[in-house]
């Protein structure tokens, strides 16, 4: 199993590298790979569809309890077959469609990545693995949508799809992590077998996050807008993305977890509402489109809404209807997109206003298209009819608010009939178009073959309902968590659903006939507000960037003194908070050594230090400030003399002198005066400086209460002569006890020397 999925990933880069040399060979190689995977999965069908399960497990990161585990049951097998089967068909179609494209190699690479990721997604047992493939489908679709990378539209759409689905992806990750915590397992299989009710403390959060993930991926209102824009991708991508992959991933997720969360009120209501709204919205929006692909994209949104809504209804019947309709939709939508691609390829346009009467020119394309439209409109004896009957049945039998679903399925089905006529009839009958960029001619091979195959398949499944029933039964049982059998047939007897179907066709036909009149009262659907969700996304990003710019200008303003102000304020506030919290007030200024001022001259350095400080605050000239600062430094050095630390004092004097000299050297390169723009800024700086000084003083006074009882002192004193071979303890510390520090400091001096050398001698002019 791993080999099957990995093989596509492995083949992908090689296709990218070598496709151009032998486009035919590599193109067909990808088709064959997809077909081989399909056949491989099909070999499991007898076992799995009888209720068996197959597991594949490989260790990956055992420390984190993450394993590569796949499992095949009725549901994942069905999806696996769908992904690989449609993959083979669409890749075959693409070998013809992409023939003249310049970067076809990249296209095939990304398609393989896409297919493999989707396969992984549906077959994964470990939730984190599922998330992994989920993200990879987003990435590969990003690359596919941005295929026409020179066009701004394609780039924008690709980013949009990526960001929207990434939000969902992160929601999914969070949901899975919470599931892992609540149920203590990451295995889908284990999760499905759990008897524990979904009543844990995280359940609500998990449900909300899962809905967000599914809705963004499956283009539910109000996250739908990326899908119509995603048609910037080459048509085979759209066909694949809409029929068998990407958008079906969200539905798959809902199906997979329905047994676990199906009873949760937020889950059912969320699905019901989002599904209903999306269904009607998509269908109405499709009516007013003039671009064939965009029309189909809105139809997909609508159909996805139907599946979501059915899942929300949650009855056995409704869940069966949802899965059946998914297959119905895959067939007709795959076919229609490929038809649209064929027409676009042959005529150079997808504008419905320019295209009509293509019957003579493209008869084989027409055949596929008409068959697909029949299924879409839900006419007998197509598979679409079976699907729609089931949808109506379950909506009629539903409890509570199922009338909402009934109403919206009816409305959208009417639209489907009308659009079926628009696409399946008007495109091909009537007078031949003369306005297309290229005169229409029949396409060749796969361009009509693939859609015809799918269209015919839609008819075949409708007539031979045993086949889909056999394929789907186990899947529907897994979704509903029951053992109910699945019976599919064209004829149910004279039921209310049949009447409703009849009514739908009539109303759809009426809508089609009155399409010029209806355009007027459908004008609301073309209003700008229909784009509101997308506007929200666009403005949202723009606002975010404005905030980002404002924030960055505020923080990263380029002034060193502001940076220092923030740093010191932060430190002072944090330290003061701790001091207050622990009540670290100095205990009555208890000095260990009685500080007696024996001689008046000891006050002299203190006097100079205070003088220096006052000067600093008042001064504007850099020179004055420098001298005043040195005055403080020398004052400190002098104090050390009085407090019997002559060596420290010497060092301090030297450092002060050197600092003074160096600063004098560079002073002439700087502006001579410091300007602070305003009084408030000056006060602010002063305040922080004083606070910092006060804080440090507080700390020092606190520390003073401590008597340093360091074992180091005694050790150094007693060992330096005998073992360190030196009488001056400080020297022995420097060159022996702590020689490594000295080595480091010498290095610092050495590097400084290099630095000075380069500063003086190496000038890269710019």
């Amino acid at each position: 199993m791993l080999t099957a999925i990995l093989s596509a990933y492995v083949l992908a880069p090689f296709t990218g590298m070598f496709y151009r040399k032998h486009p035919r060979i590599w193109g067909y190689l990808t088709v064959m790979l997809a077909a081989a995977i399909f056949l491989y999965l099909a070999t499991f069908a007898p076992r799995v569809l009888e209720g068996g399960e197959v597991r594949f497990s490989y260790a990956w990161v055992p420390q984190l309890d993450i394993h590569v585990t796949f499992f095949l049951d009725g549901l994942s097998l069905f999806f696996g077959l769908l992904v690989s089967g449609f993959g083979a068909l669409i890749l075959w179609y693409a070998t013809a469609y992409m023939e003249e494209a310049h970067y076809a190699n990249r296209f095939f690479t990304y398609m393989l990545l896409f297919m493999a990721s989707m396969l992984g997604l549906v077959l994964a047992d470990h939730l984190i693995l599922l998330y992994l493939f989920w993200e990879l489908t987003s990435i590969s679709s990003f690359l596919l949508i941005g295929y026409a990378n020179r066009e701004a539209e394609a780039r924008r759409s690709a980013l949009q799809a990526l960001l929207v689905t990434n939000v969902g992806g992160l929601a999914l990750l969070a949901a899975f992590l919470l599931i892992g915590q609540q149920w203590d397992t990451f295995s889908v299989e284990a999760l499905l077998q759990t008897t524990e009710a979904a009543g844990g403390k995280h359940t609500l959060a998990i449900v909300l996050l899962l809905l967000l993930a599914a809705f963004t991926k499956s283009a539910q209102f109000p996250f739908h807008f990326w899908l119509p824009n995603a048609m910037a991708a080459p048509t085979p991508v759209s066909a694949y993305l809409h029929s068998a992959t990407m958008v079906k991933a969200g539905i798959f997720l809902l199906f997979r977890l329905q047994p676990v969360f199906g009873d949760h009120v937020v889950w059912t209501w969320g699905l019901l509402l989002a599904g209903s709204i999306t269904m009607v919205f998509g269908a109405v929006m499709a009516l007013v489109q003039t671009d064939l692909k965009r029309m189909l994209a809105y139809l997909t949104i609508s159909a996805l809404g139907m599946m979501v809504g059915m899942t929300g209804l949650g009855t056995e019947e409704a869940l069966q209807a949802a899965l059946v309709y998914l297959l119905v939709h895959a067939f007709y939508k795959g076919a229609l997109f490929m038809v649209a691609g064929g027409i676009d390829h042959q005529t150079g346009t997808r504008d419905m206003r320019l295209l009509h009467g293509l019957k003579q020119a493209m008869p084989l394309t027409m055949a596929g298209c008409v068959l697909a439209c029949g299924s879409m409109a839900g006419l007998p004896p197509f598979f679409g009819f079976v699907g729609k009957e089931m949808v109506y049945e379950s909506a009629l039998h539903g409890q509570g608010f199922s009338w909402l679903l009934l109403g919206s399925t009816f409305l959208s089905s009417v639209c489907y009939v009308s659009l079926g006529l628009v696409i399946g009839y008007r495109l091909f009958f009537g007078t031949l178009t003369r306005q297309t960029p290229k005169p229409p001619t029949e396409s060749h091979g796969p361009l009509w073959g693939a859609p015809l195959l799918l269209g015919a398949g839609g008819l075949l499944l409708g007539v031979w309902t045993e086949a889909p029933a056999y394929l789907l039964e186990r899947g529907t049982q897994l979704i509903s968590g029951t053992e109910a059998g699945l019976e599919l047939s064209l004829w149910h007897g004279l039921t209310p659903a049949l009447g409703l179907s009849l009514l739908t066709v009539l109303a759809g036909w009426g809508l089609y006939r009155g399409r010029d009149k209806s355009r007027k009262w459908l004008a609301f659907a073309t209003g700008d507000y229909t784009l509101a969700p997308e506007q929200l996304y666009v403005t949202g990003l723009r606002r975010l960037r404005q905030v980002a710019l404002w924030q960055t200008r505020l923080l990263q303003n380029g002034y060193l003194r502001n940076y220092l102000l923030v740093i010191f304020s932060f430190l002072v506030l944090a330290v003061l908070a701790q001091i207050i919290h622990f009540r670290l007030w100095p205990q009555a200024l208890r000095f260990q050594l009685p500080v007696t001022v024996d001689y008046l001259y000891e006050w002299i350095p203190v006097f100079f230090m205070v003088l220096g400080l006052i000067t600093i605050f008042g001064a504007r000239s850099r020179l004055t400030i420098l001298i005043a600062t040195s005055m403080v430094g020398f004052g400190v050095a002098a104090l050390f003399v009085f407090f019997s630390a002559p060596d420290v004092s010497m060092t301090q004097f030297l450092v002060e002198t050197i600092t003074l000299v160096i600063f004098m050297l560079i002073l002439h390169r700087l502006p001579s005066h410091i300007r602070l723009e305003s009084k408030t800024k000056f006060v602010r700086h002063l305040l922080v400086a004083i606070l910092f000084g006060a804080t440090m003083t507080l700390i020092l006074l606190n520390l003073h209460g401590y008597e340093l009882a360091s074992p180091l002192k005694e050790y150094y004193l007693s060992h330096s002569e005998e073992e360190g071979k030196g009488l001056n303890v400080v020297n022995v510390i420097l060159i022996d006890f702590r020689a490594l520090d000295t080595l480091g400091e010498i290095t610092v001096l050495g590097v400084t020397a290099i630095g000075i050398m380069t500063l003086v001698f190496l000038n890269q002019k710019k």
């Binding site: 990161v61 992994l132 670290l584 490594l740 080595l743 630095g755």
Partner: protein, 501 residues
């Protein structure tokens, strides 16, 4: 005796740097010395790592003085992991800086190699020392040598950035020193293991928590955390790209290392500091990523991305469970490799397009597809798309974050990863996908471009392979990270290894 292997990765860079100084202005000689030196160092680091992972903490006493009187050098899983990663980059940077577009020939003959070696010396020292004052010394070595590297060449912009860099970092060092002084005043020791014992003893004044804040602020400046990160976006984009890459990859992580080492080992727990870290993690992630979104220069975008992702590393420290800390450690390794590689790639973009500006460079997706692939891998890895390397750290952090009910923190972390995706798309879309028309006439063919910049291409490709390995074969590094985190929390084992060798 085998403990002396610890000295190989520490002292080899110093010896090599000294040898380079003897070959002053002889570029060829310096290059031989650098390459052989960095390879020996890497081999030594690997040998040390092997020993530590097999046998536990290795420590030696400098000069043979018994602890805590001398200076102890200690290698545990955490430090050796970073030592190895550092020296892997040490070798790769040699190749990356070979083409003159990465670091000019004049710079290379002038002081580049010895300064770089001394910076590696400082980093290794900081990672291996067991003494708090000695750590300060290593930070000085790092700071001064990185300052020389950043200002090497004296371009006006370089100096402007370097001044901010050095001023703020010196203040950080001063605060660090003040913190050490407080600790020494209280406990009379600078040995970290010894301090760990003394500061947890009964009757220790609460002033220890004030000292903790000095360390926190100082290392947070080094690690570029909110609200102390200003020096980073100001200085990293200014030096030549080869220098920017290694500094950007390594130095901030040493700040985090020091933060983890001191807060976990030396200081007793403190709720206020944990809260502070939590807030800083959240705000670092957000302000950093907002900064990245606002920029147009690739290097500035990357600089802010560094800041933002430092937040993830603090996140683990703020949660402070072994798994969270393991997440931080893994994230550090990932971040060092990925950030460096993104800088590497931006240098390659510059080599081809003569610009770092996203509105000027363009069309590389069609022109140099392999470069696009390199960028995508590193960029998605940074975002944390599984199974690339960034995912594993994020996964560990997010899952422990949720387990400890840090919902806001996890929420912000996930939001940041989404915004990171946007930030890297802001490079990908204009620089790789978009075509800027004829104004950028590039004459080099693909082959000629690769020949001319071979070193850069090779090192970036090698780093990409490493990143892929880290993602797909995550378990060895995950295991080491977990081992390292558990070792960090097992203070007694560290103390025993140092004080009772």
């Amino acid at each position: 005796m085998t403990a002396h292997i610890l000295l190989v990765p520490l002292l080899t860079p110093l010896l090599a740097a000294m040898a380079c100084l003897f070959a002053w202005k002889k570029k060829q000689w310096q290059q031989y010395i650098y390459l052989s030196g960095s390879m020996i160092t890497l081999a030594g680091a690997a040998a040390l790592a092997w020993q530590v992972l097999q046998e536990g903490i290795v420590s030696i006493q400098a000069g043979g003085w018994e602890p805590p009187f001398g200076i102890t050098l200690v290698a545990d899983a955490f430090s050796v992991l970073l030592v190895v990663v550092t020296h892997v980059l040490g070798v790769l940077i040699y190749f990356y800086t070979l083409p003159p577009v990465s670091v000019s020939q004049e710079r290379k003959s002038f002081g580049f190699y010895p300064s770089l070696l001394l910076m590696l010396f400082g980093i290794t020292g900081a990672l291996l020392t067991g003494d708090i004052f000695n750590l300060y010394v290593w930070f000085e070595v790092m700071l001064v040598s990185s300052f020389v590297l950043i200002s090497l060449g004296n371009e006006r912009l370089q100096l402007e950035g370097a001044v901010k860099y050095v001023t703020i970092n010196f203040i950080a060092s001063a605060l660090f020193l003040a913190g050490i002084a407080i600790l020494y005043g209280m406990a009379g020791s600078t040995n970290m293991a010894d301090l760990a014992v003394r500061l947890r003893a009964d009757g220790v004044s609460d002033i220890v928590y004030v000292a903790m804040l000095f360390f926190l602020v100082s290392f947070s400046i080094k690690a570029a955390l909110f609200p102390l990160f200003f020096w980073l976006p100001a200085s990293y984009p200014t030096p030549p790209i080869g220098i920017a890459a290694i500094i950007a990859g390594l130095l901030t992580k040493i700040g985090i290392y020091a933060l983890i080492r001191t807060l976990i080992l030396v200081f007793p727990d403190n709720a206020f500091v944990q809260q502070l870290l939590l807030g800083m993690a959240i705000l670092t992630m957000l302000t950093g990523i907002f900064g990245a979104i606002a920029q147009y220069d690739m290097r500035k975008i990357l600089a802010f991305l560094i800041v933002s992702h430092m937040g993830y590393m603090v996140m683990g420290l703020a949660i402070a469970t072994p798994l969270a800390l393991a997440g931080t450690i893994f994230y550090m390794v990932h971040s060092i490799l990925v950030k460096t590689n993104l800088f590497f790639i931006s240098g390659l973009v510059f080599a081809d397009q003569q610009s770092f500006h996203i509105r000027k460079a363009g069309g590389l997706y069609e022109r140099l597809p392999w470069m696009a692939a390199l960028f995508l891998i590193s960029a998605f890895s940074l975002v944390g798309i599984p199974p690339l390397s960034g995912f594993w750290g994020k996964y560990m952090l997010a899952s422990t974050g949720l387990a400890t009910e840090q919902y806001l923190l996890v929420g912000v972390a996930l939001l940041t990863s989404m915004l990171t995706l946007w930030a890297v798309s802001r490079i990908w879309l204009p620089v790789f996908w978009q075509h800027k028309g004829a104004e950028k006439q590039v004459t080099l063919t693909q082959g000629a471009f690769v020949r001319k910049n071979r070193g850069m291409v090779v090192s970036s490709a090698a780093l990409t392979l490493l990143i892929l390995w880290l993602g797909f074969q995550a378990d060895p590094i995950v295991e080491i990270s977990i081992q390292a985190a558990e070792q960090l929390f097992d203070r007694q084992a560290y103390i025993d290894a140092v004080l009772k060798p």
